[in-house]
């Protein structure tokens, strides 16, 4: 299929710019389809716009009783498509609602565990025109699309005109496009139909990201900088509440928890820059939120990793793990109900309102020091702690010392991310890369420890409930042994990873980073 050559927007609802091609002297004639086709359109993407960010558009079109799901690339060319047969897919939904085939295969690596959500809906009345040359051969098609957006905000859009060449007729199609471009009221339209539908509601694709996307200035007051960061984190937290409550996919809760953890760290490590009492007042609320969300997330991690665990069994079979899988699913459902109660509670509503008010007040405060100085001092301190605590760890140190070091590393990482916009992106990336390599090792060490502890707790619960086959417990034992082996590997890699992190090159990068913002 050929991609669209040119796209125009017409400022008059009833205009027919394609008729310019029928004027005397034109080497082309235009022949219109008998009547416009009515198409119901629905665009889908993940909450964090994974398709859009990968240059993909997924559109469901319904016309004449048939519903198609079409994946296109940046140039509008079709990559994969599927005809959906009844019962039609209900959105939002995860990828497994789609039939197996090339479309699902193309989407899987991009979408991952996320659900596909409707991001815009519209009804289009599309009139197809064929452009003929002197041999009455079609050389291009002109589609005039009169689109009415129904979601996110009802709005009629100006007609959109797209010129698509037939293969081998690009030159003639370019002439056709030039004729259209010269018609009064016709202007070049660079937006895709999805972008236009969202723009009508004042939105744009890609307007959500779990990353902190704010710009701080080194000289701004530290309190204002911290309030800006925490407000952005509160926005992220709130954006993920609905998806968490509706349990659309596991990433809503994950992003919500990250926003909570970053906020907690900001209060702990730099909360003194906020007006008196603010950090002390809200820290317990973040602790409550963190505790509220932990059980569901832990079970999500288990369930997401379950296929991998089952596939890794050597002595036991995947079937023998099924009672454990059922136990995890039941526990997760109970944890989710508990979580939903918390997120619907008056306490959570009050917290959101009061935290936002406190941040607005803090943003207006004109206190010293500057954001640059605050960031430099706190990152410097956190870095020194990591070097000190990590350097004290020997081959005989207890696991707790590595757990503590992991917390220090997380604090440093969060500080680098919270104040990241103060620094050169390249230097910041290199500093985070050094730290991440160490964090990965510590994370593997502690996660495998926690999972072993949990596995024992699950086994005890299942035994207490009764009816668990011995084969299931043996299979769980095999998983525990695998986790212990991974933990042992991580422990043996630690010394080398820490040596790299504490080396002069890595240290120099952190010092240079701190220096730039402080200056």
């Amino acid at each position: 299929m050929q991609s669209v050559l040119r796209q125009y927007v017409v400022d008059c609802e009833d205009a027919e710019p394609e008729q310019a091609l029928n004027l005397p002297g034109s080497p082309f004639t235009v022949s219109a389809a008998a009547r416009p086709a009515s198409v119901r359109r629905l665009w889908l993407d993940t909450f964090d716009w994974r398709l859009y960010r990968s240059g993909l558009t997924l559109e469901q079109t319904s016309a004449r009783g048939a519903t198609d799901l079409v994946l296109t690339g940046r140039d509008g060319a079709v990559i994969a498509a599927d005809r959906l047969s009844p019962p039609l897919v209900k959105w939002p939904g995860r990828l497994d609602v789609l039939p197996l085939g090339p479309l699902r295969d193309q989407l899987a690596p991009v979408v991952g565990v996320r659900a596909l959500l409707p991001v815009a809906r519209a009804v289009s009345s599309v009139r197809e025109n064929r452009v003929l040359n002197v041999d009455d051969k079609i050389v291009a098609r002109i589609a005039v699309d009169r689109m009415s957006v129904t979601f996110p905000e009802p709005r009629s859009l100006p007609p959109r005109v797209a010129v698509t060449p037939l293969r081998g007729y690009q030159q003639q199609a370019a002439q056709v496009a030039a004729v259209l471009a010269a018609v009064p009221g016709v202007s070049e339209g660079s937006q895709s139909a999805l972008e236009a539908a969202l723009a009508a509601a004042g939105r744009r694709p890609g307007d959500y990201s779990s990353k902190i996307s704010i710009r701080l200035a080194p000289r701004m007051p530290a309190s204002a900088a911290l309030a800006t960061v925490c407000t952005a984190l509160l926005d992220t937290l709130e954006a993920n509440v609905d998806g968490t409550l509706r349990d659309l996919d596991t990433e809503f809760l994950h992003d919500l928890r990250i926003a909570v953890r970053r906020s907690r760290s900001a209060l702990k490590l730099a909360g003194d820059a906020l007006p008196d009492g603010v950090a002390k007042r809200f820290a317990p609320e973040f602790k409550w939120l963190s505790d509220l969300t932990t059980p569901t997330r832990d079970l999500d991690v288990y369930l997401l990793g379950f296929p991998g665990m089952a596939a890794g069994l050597v002595a036991a079979t995947a079937d023998e793990l099924e009672p454990f899988h059922d136990h995890l699913r039941r526990s997760r459902a109970a944890a989710q109900r508990q979580l939903a109660r918390g997120l619907r509670s008056a306490r959570f509503g009050r917290f959101r309102k009061e935290w936002r008010q406190a941040l607005a007040a803090a943003g207006a405060a004109r206190t010293r020091p500057s954001a640059g100085r605050l960031a430099a001092s706190r990152i410097g301190r956190a870095h020194r702690r990591v070097i000190r605590d990590g350097g004290a760890i020997t081959a005989t140190s207890p696991p707790e010392s590595l757990h503590e070091l992991r917390k220090r590393c997380k604090e440093l990482r969060y500080l680098l991310e919270l104040f990241g916009s103060l620094y050169d992106p390249g230097e910041l990336w290199r500093a985070v890369r050094d730290l991440k390599a160490l964090q990965d090792c510590l994370g593997e060490f502690q996660d495998t420890q926690v999972q072993q502890d949990e596995l024992r707790a699950f086994a005890a619960q299942m035994m207490a409930e009764g009816g668990t086959p011995a084969a299931t417990l043996l299979a769980m034992g095999e998983i525990a042994a695998g986790l212990a082996a991974r933990q042992h590997r991580a422990r043996s890699e630690f010394a080398g990873r820490f040596r790299d992190f504490a080396g002069p090159a890595s240290q120099g990068r952190i010092q240079a980073l701190i220096g730039t913002a402080a200056a």
Binding site: Q2, D68, D135, D136, K137, I138, R167, G168, Y169
Partner: protein, 256 residues
Amino acid sequence: MKTFATYNIKGGVGKTATAVNLSYLAARDGYRVLLWDLDPQGAASFLFRIRPRVKGGGKALIRGTRPIDDTIKATDFDNLDLLPSDFTYRNLDLVLDSARKPARRLGSLLAPLDAEYDVIFLDCPPGISLLSESVLHAADTLLVPLIPTTLSVRTLDQLTEFIGGFDGSRPTILAFFSMIDRRKRLHIQIAEQLPAQRDDVAAAAVPALSVIEQMSVRRAPVTAFAPRSAAARCYGELWQEARERGKLPAPPSAAW
């Protein structure tokens, strides 16, 4: 990708009408189809309203100095593209003669199109030449239109013998009767008897019908402008047989 070629040593037996209609039917079934009009007369190109012109001529295509991709033109029908004719194709024998492995050259030119097309039709000029030999090597299925006469049957035998001498893979031959004149007893007799006696002659046949001649006036396949005509029905039956004989799998895009 499966390659079908319409071939006969004689001219005016319905090769182009068959290539044009069968390629249209294949595209309508959902296959991605390319028709290469190898005849310098350019009749297939004319019927699809495409100018018989290839930049650099046949020499550039055969020598590979002009990518085939750049020369392909879309017809007015979905899934159906055409590689147009060019008057320089009259010299293709000479160009092939100077190429390495001339009898295999067409096949190697078409190989890169495997990902893009499911079916390729080659519409050959009449005659026995290096070009036709290259076509016979490139084709998986050879569609041979025959006027129902004793001489035509003899020609089919000669062709079968010639292909039997090929090293390696040989195309499947599917002959069929074309331009049957219902007023001629001999035509009817041969067209009825031979398919029952020979495996390589199709049961489907295409009579001489004026609606087929209308193709040159309408400049479109009869299967497109008169889909319910007797001619369209005959081509439909022939396509069914060719599809089965050519072991063509179901179209990949049938679901969409």
